[in-house]
Amino acid sequence: MSSRTDSPKVRSAAWRISLWATLAFAFGTMIVFIFLHGFVAGDLQRRSDAWLSGEVEVLGDVAERTPKDALYGRVVGEVAELAAREVPDKQISTSNSDNSVFFLQTGGDGSLKLWVGAGSGDAFLKAIQASIITPDRPTDLRVPGFSVPFRVACIRIGDGSHIFLGLSERDELRVLNSLRLRFILLWLLIVLLGFGIVFLTTRRMLRHVREITEAASRIGHSDLNTRVPTTKRNDEVSQLAFTLNRMLDRIENSMHQLHTITDSLAHDLRSPLTAIRGKLEMSLSSATYGERVEPIVAAIDELDRLTDFLNKSLDVAEAKADALRLTRSAIDLNELLRVMIDLYEPSMSEKGLQVRLRSGSPLVIFADAALLHRMVANLLDNELKHLPPACTLTIELRNEVDVARLIFEDDGPGFDPEVLLHLFERRVKGRDSNGHGLGLTFVDAVARAHGGGVTASNRESSGARIAVTLPLAAE
């Protein structure tokens, strides 16, 4: 379980959130625009259709009333040209080009009778004949040679001829195009701006979360005073921080209670032990050497073992509750091992045991020196007590990426399989062990208090293997 925060992951969360939010926003605004666009286009169509219908009726009226003489073409043509100048939404730039409006009259036989517009009316006549244009309502007409379709209204007059009035949809399309272009630009701008704002806000919020995570992971065994950072904003994140801090208050409180209990227990037991030991020592010094001495010496030994048991029990109790108090300093594990082996080597060789240290360079960790001394002493005591003569103990110190690994390997009989399963539990000891069964539990406790751990196993060949890991940097 790693409590370390991974900053790229947190950033990707900000990315993810802002990406989805922006997508939703962009999609939503796009739908709204499509709806508006449809509405505007429909309205423009309606307005031009209304104009066309009105004008074609006027033209039809004029055409019907004008006598069919030589002046007919001129009269109707001028009326048609006048009408063309009143085109709705007409832009100045289009006033010079003549193909925005056309007027066309066909005779009863369908031939071109009158044409007002750019070029010859043949192409238009063909296009009109190819499509069905009803007099009721204006229809779209595509004319070859023109990229933009025309809106054409039609009326039938008394002499059986048809009058067609066409209006290019160019202006209408221009309005819609300009509307679309402006929208797309604004839309892009807003979406980008929205993305930026959402991203920055999310990142700021997540940064606060990350700060909380980092602070929470820093709060270790020895440091329960620190609290996670809070802000004045009363949002969910600061609620989380407040809740965490309240929880830490409670943990600190119960930790404090545990310390009070173990301290007073230690005090209440140690005071009588001190008095007993002192009195025994006094009677020892006044006793003449002889048979009276032996029981007193034995009693003092027992008392010292009891004291040691008391200390270890309380340490283990605190460590099991993750409440072991550490006074950390920089310690060279290599040097510590060398000194400890130097201390134990005579006892080992006295028993016919060999000790080898496999370790090269200094390996500095930030840990509690007194606890580490006691931990290694426990491991060495353990080997010294349980290894049969003529065995070899190999102690290896490895520097692995961010942990120091301390390996005790021997070629003795190994652990009893039954014991192996519960090796680090309190009061578990080998059948013929005369210890109080706290040794390895204490080792486990110290390793865990430093953020490391212990594993024990039997080697494939023969013998036991205990590996202790300790983080190089303090948590």
Binding site: H259, T262, D263, A266, H267, R270, S271, P272, L273, T274, A275, I276, R277, G278, K279, L280, E281, M282, L284, S285, V293, I296, V297, A298, I300, D301, L303, D304, T307, D308, N311, L314, D315, R325, T327, V339, M340, D342, L343, Y344, P346, S347, E350, D368, A369, A370, H373, R374, A377, L380, D381, L384, K385, G435, G439
Partner: protein, 225 residues
Amino acid sequence: MRLLLVEDELDIQSFLKCSLEEAGYQVDVAADGKTAEQLAIEAAFDILIVDLGLPDIDGISLILRLRQLGVRAPVLILSARRSVDDRVRGLEQGGDDYLTKPFALAELLARLRNLLKRSAPAGSEATRLHVLDLELDLLRREATRAGQLLQLTPQEFVLLEYLCRNTGRVVTRSMILDKVWGMRIQPDTNVVDVHIYRLRGKVDGKGQQPLIRTLRGVGYVLKDR
């Protein structure tokens, strides 16, 4: 040497008073901080023993108060508490040394001697130590017995030097571990005994008067008589 013992547990107080008087100290006792303060103002003490768990005042606060009142004598703190930070705090806040209960009398006496030595003006440091026919050259790190050079490892020399510096006084196993190996541990095994046994084998040859003696249940002593 005049000593003020501040301890509220009467059992411990009485045996400490006895043992300290036997060791040659003139002992005044106080069972609480108030009495201790009065006594410390009235008379000048050479050294103080203060228990941390007093009924009326915290031991550390008492020491700070006494320092304010101008008491310069070194203090040995007795603590039945467990936490190391108390000890460190004790050391930093003006107490000169500490000892956790229960302790061996020999260790208490040794620490008192050390404190007195530290507070006394430093004399010229000896470069040679003599105990009967045993001689230690502290500069060349060599030891001779009756003129014969002893083949000692560096560690054995440090151990012998420590014993010599405490000639005639008992040193316990935990004192040896603390001073020679620099660690406060309590091994379940006889690691220190084996070191002493080996050292004795080299120092006390056949036919020579044995110097290193074992006091069962207490520790070791280098005897010059």
